[in-house]
Structures are given as structure tokens and as C-alpha cells.
């Protein structure tokens, strides 16, 4: 058995395939074999991009009608597998929906899972994923030892999305079967908390604040600096947990992974949880009063000082430049 049949858990917003889907499809096609996109929901106009990134086949569940994807999409996947299309590997994005579907499917298929990975290699029948631990200072290589299908989840931005595959994108339906007792959860309302300006995970500049800001009001400095640099404001888990800013601001293990040109960490010590989400930035500037803070270990420019002095001076200097 080689790894011939690879599925990618895919999502679309309207007619746009998500970036995470396109990143995984691009990687999947580099591994050889046939690549299938399994769309949670309606594929619509996203089929073209999925095909362009490597999907020879596109399954779509159709409208989930408010059902949470975990139980619904895993059941749809199992139905296709029971029908005879058995993948060797299924790649999931490490996001809310991907993680829920992966978890449910692992029980249905009785297969182990490997999550939080940032790379994958295939050598004959052997599939190995690489996962950063200890804040990204070590990389663990784990190999699946059982029977396929192998189930793995990858952090966003682990791979570059590249089109030009020109795959067929043949559309097939994979309806959700009756879920019985597991189908009891329904979405009744959707709330969006997006900030104005560039999206956090796409911005060229990200300015994040942490506990060192001292109090919630001081997050204004982070917002102001982000705006001056045409960037997005972000936050450490500590201040999200403290209720200073919404969860959608969080950068890190349980938040967003960012890879901007410049990342400015203001009053952030650099907990493992946070570093995982921003270590991939091309340039890192850190301002923190504790010179032993781990964030200085990854900073290209580190200012050991008081954010309440350095930030206002920096903001004033940038405003003066116009």
C-alpha cells in the first residue's frame, strides 16, 4: 500500500475556498497520488479553486442546516468510506471544525490522531508528521504505525497555497446520514466580532498586547499603534482570559497563527502558548520590562523597558512622521 488516496477536509465561505483548505490541498498534491477535497457544506463556486490546488474530486455534504460539523461531517465521511472510497490519509486544518470532525471520525474508524503538526512526509507506506513542542524549540517526528486511513491535523500556514494544478474537481455528493443521538446540537444564531482594518491572520504588521499592559484601557495603545502601521491588533491568551479583548484577537496555540512581516509584542512575556502562534513572523520586536522574558529569545529587536513609556513615545514619533 502506498499513499495513493489523500483527502483534505475543506471549507468554503460562499464561493471562496478557505486558505487553510488550499494550503492543505497544495501539500497533499506534492505527496503524490489522488487528492480529494471533502467539503463541509456547499462547495459552490469554490470547486474551481479546490481543483486548481489539486482536488481531482470534490465531495460536498450540502447545507448542514445549522448542525455542528463534528458529528455531521464525520458521519458523511464514514458513509463514503463504507461505500468503498477508502482514503490512505485524511488531512485536517487545526481549526474548530476540522478538530471536531477529526475527533469524531477517529472513533468511528478506530484510528489514532496526530494534531498540531506543521509538516508531513510520506515514504512508501510510512507517513510521518512533525509537531513543534515546548513553544517550538523542539520538533517531534511521529509515525503512524497502524492501518490507514491515517488522520492528521495541521496548523494554519504550515504550507504555502499554490494553484496551477489543473485537477478535474469532479463534484460528488456526500450527504449527511441520520445522526441519531449524536445529532442534538444546532446553531441557532451567528455573531461576528471582526475588527476593522486588515484581518489578524493576514495582516503584514501585527501589534499584540499582553499582561504587561497592566490594565484593559491600555490596550488602546496597541490599537493605535496597529492602526498607524496599517496592521492588526492581537493579544496574548492572558488578557483574552481576563476579558480585556475578545477571543478573536488571540494569537497562539488556541488562537490564531500569524506570520506577518513585523510582529510587535508589547508587554508579552512569551509563554509557550503564545510563541507557537507568532514565532513564524519574519521580524519580531519585543518590548518588556523583564529582561529574562522568553520573548527576547526570539526577538530581532528587544527593548527592555516599560511599555507605558516606550509605546507612547513610539506612537508620537510615528504620528510626527505623518
Amino acid at each position: 500500500m502506498a499513499v495513493n488516496n489523500i483527502w483534505v477536509f475543506s471549507q468554503a465561505n460562499g464561493d471562496e475556498a478557505t486558505t487553510a483548505s488550499l494550503e492543505l490541498l497544495t501539500k497533499a498534491r506534492s505527496l503524490g497520488g489522488t487528492v480529494t477535497a471533502f467539503v463541509a457544506g456547499v462547495a459552490g463556486g469554490a470547486v474551481a479553486a479546490l481543483a486548481d490546488h489539486g482536488a481531482a474530486k470534490v465531495y460536498e455534504t450540502g447545507d448542514l442546516a445549522g448542525a455542528l460539523p463534528g458529528a455531521a461531517v464525520s458521519a458523511a465521511m464514514q458513509a463514503v468510506i463504507d461505500g468503498g472510497d477508502v482514503p490512505d490519509l485524511i488531512m485536517f486544518p487545526q481549526n474548530y471544525e476540522g478538530r471536531d470532525v477529526l475527533s469524531r471520525l477517529s472513533v468511528k474508524l478506530d484510528r489514532t490522531v496526530l494534531t498540531n503538526s506543521t509538516d508531513i512526509t510520506v515514504d512508501g507506506d510510512s507517513v510521518t508528521v512533525q509537531t513543534p513542542i515546548f513553544g517550538g524549540s523542539k520538533l517531534v517526528n511521529s509515525t503512524f504505525t497502524g492501518e490507514a486511513p491515517f488522520l492528521a491535523a495541521f496548523r494554519p500556514k504550515s504550507f504555502e497555497a499554490a494553484g496551477g494544478a489543473g485537477a478535474a474537481g469532479e463534484l460528488a455528493s456526500a450527504p449527511v446520514p441520520d445522526l441519531g443521538s449524536t445529532g442534538g446540537a444546532t446553531v441557532t444564531a451567528v455573531h461576528v466580532e471582526e475588527t476593522s482594518g486588515p484581518k489578524l491572520d493576514e495582516a503584514a504588521v501585527v501589534v499584540s498586547g499582553g499582561r504587561g499592559l497592566g490594565e484593559a484601557d491600555k490596550f488602546d495603545m496597541v490599537e493605535t499603534l496597529a492602526k498607524l502601521l496599517k496592521g492588526a491588533p492581537g493579544a496574548s491568551r492572558a488578557i483574552v482570559d481576563a476579558g480585556w479583548v475578545p477571543y478573536s484577537y488571540q494569537v497562539g496555540q488556541t488562537g490564531k497563527v500569524v506570520k506577518p512581516t513585523v510582529y510587535i509584542a508589547a508587554g508579552i512575556s512569551g509563554a509557550t502558548q503564545h510563541m507557537v502562534g507568532m514565532k513564524g513572523a519574519k521580524n519580531i520586536i519585543a518590548i518588556n520590562k523583564d529582561k529574562e522574558a522568553p520573548i527576547f529569545g526570539v526577538a530581532d529587536l528587544g527593548i527592555v523597558g516599560d511599555v507605558h513609556k516606550v509605546m507612547p513615545a513610539l506612537i508620537a514619533a510615528l504620528e510626527a512622521r505623518g
Binding site: L68, S103, V107, T112, T115, T188, H191, V262, G302, V304
Partner: protein, 258 residues
């Protein structure tokens, strides 16, 4: 007054304030030192206590798994107000994968008595695979809602605000169900002195995987190697003298972002 019994899955982990270490022979995380209650789980314990309090009657039961019979973390949650605990303690489970963990915890739920709701953290702070709550729900044939930032029980339904990439969804789910909570969902209480004393005598039932009928404790993954990540080149670290903001301006200027 209504009856509300909640099971909370908790994990005892090495103190995250200490640097993590891998066992050189197995390449798995060293867990032989003192273990503490995973802070991520304290939110679930607090939420469960509040839900029982709101209902007026019922109890909070802990389920946990450990490779040894460590209970210090469980005592913390018992001191917060949980009534009893089921601990699956089995050296065969050392290094268990998430699927095995979910099967074992689902088995432990069977020992915990009647329940309306199972609460877990979204992911542990040491292994953070992040799949166990949903896997447990699937093993038990229950619906589930992940990443809850609020939970309210209304009769035989639980209403959850679930975090999403862009904000949150309101979700309605039939009970019994599994709900995973994020950190910050509630402010966990500190155990009182009275609570700490009472916790010493609260029942902790210790069982093995075999006691729960989970016979196959093997997992289909192995760590083939561990390597150092490429280090970032050391940067310039300077003490602020009131003028270092100019350094930042120059740095940004060089990168053409201003």
C-alpha cells in the same frame, strides 16, 4: 429546584511553570514529578459547580486518568467543591494517545453514576491534542459542543455560546451532552480552608483500564525522532533609556513598513 448532575473530566499535569522535559527512552513528556490540576480544567470544575448551584440540587463528579495513583490535582478540584472522583490509574496507560484516553474516560463515566452533562477543557496544557472531548462524545453516542464560552441549562437543553474564527455561535443542544469549555469561561474559585480539609476525606475510586472493559491499550503512533528546531538568530536586546523608540522607528523604516 431541579436535579443537575455534572461530570467533569480533569487532568493532572506537570507544573507548566517548570520547563518541560522529554523522557530520553520514550520521547514522551516526563510526568513523574509532582502533578497539579491543569488550570484549563479549573474552569470546567467551576462551571459545573455553578450549574449545579443554579439547578438547586445535584453533584459534580470528576473523572481522570493517570499512569500512577497521583491524586493531588484531584484533591484541588474536590476542594473547590466536587463531591467525588473516579481515577483510572494504570501504568499501561502511560503515553496513551487521545483515542485511548477518550475510551478510558468514557468507561470511567460509566462508574460515575447518573449525569446530565459532561464538561471537559478544550485541550490539556501539556499534550494539547485537543480531541478527547469530542472523541468521548462519539464513544458515548452523545451530542457535543466544543469551545464553549458560556453554558446555561434550560430544562433538557443546554445553551452554549461557542467560539468561532470570527466571533461566536449560539448553539442549542439536547442533554445529556459533552461540552468543552475554553479558559476564561468563568473565574475559578480558590479552594477555601474548609474545602481543602473536606477534600481529604472525599471518595476517590481508583480503577484500572481492564476494570472498565478497555482491553486494548495500544496506540498506532510512535515517535521516531526529536530534533531541535532551527533557532532564530539572536537579535539586538537593549535597555530603554527613553530614546529606544527611535530604534524601533529605524527598524520599521528599514523594512519599508513605514
Amino acid at each position: 429546584m431541579s436535579l443537575m448532575n455534572v461530570i467533569v473530566c480533569v487532568k493532572q499535569i506537570p507544573d507548566p511553570a517548570l520547563p518541560g522535559e522529554l523522557d530520553p527512552s520514550t520521547n514522551t513528556l516526563k510526568r513523574d514529578g509532582k502533578l497539579i490540576l491543569d488550570e484549563s480544567d479549573s474552569y470546567g470544575v467551576e462551571m459545573a459547580l455553578q450549574l449545579v448551584n443554579t439547578a438547586g440540587e445535584g453533584s459534580v463528579t470528576l473523572v481522570s486518568m493517570a499512569p500512577n495513583d497521583e491524586v493531588s490535582g484531584l484533591r484541588t478540584a474536590l476542594a473547590m467543591g466536587a463531591e467525588k472522583a473516579v481515577l483510572v490509574s494504570d501504568p499501561a496507560l502511560a503515553g496513551a494517545d487521545a483515542l485511548t484516553t477518550a475510551k478510558v474516560l468514557a468507561g470511567a463515566v460509566g462508574k460515575a453514576g447518573d449525569y446530565d452533562l459532561i464538561i471537559a477543557g478544550t485541550e490539556s496544557s501539556d499534550g494539547y491534542t485537543g480531541t478527547v472531548p469530542e472523541q468521548m462524545a462519539e464513544v458515548l453516542g452523545l451530542p457535543s459542543v466544543g469551545f464553549a464560552k458560556t453554558i446555561a441549562v434550560d430544562g433538557s437543553t443546554v445553551k452554549v455560546d461557542r467560539q468561532t474564527e470570527a466571533g461566536y455561535d449560539e448553539v442549542s443542544c439536547s442533554l445529556p451532552a459533552v461540552v468543552s469549555v475554553t479558559a476564561g469561561v468563568v473565574e475559578p474559585r480558590y479552594p477555601s480552608f474548609k474545602g481543602i480539609m473536606a477534600a481529604k476525606s472525599k471518595p476517590v475510586e481508583t480503577v484500572t483500564a481492564a476494570d472498565l472493559g478497555v482491553e486494548s491499550v495500544s496506540w498506532a503512533q510512535s515517535i521516531s525522532s526529536v530534533e531541535d528546531a532551527p533557532a532564530r538568530e539572536a537579535g539586538e536586546i537593549i535597555e530603554d533609556d527613553g530614546e529606544t523608540f527611535n530604534k524601533i522607528v529605524d527598524f520599521l523604516d528599514n523594512l519599508k513598513v513605514i
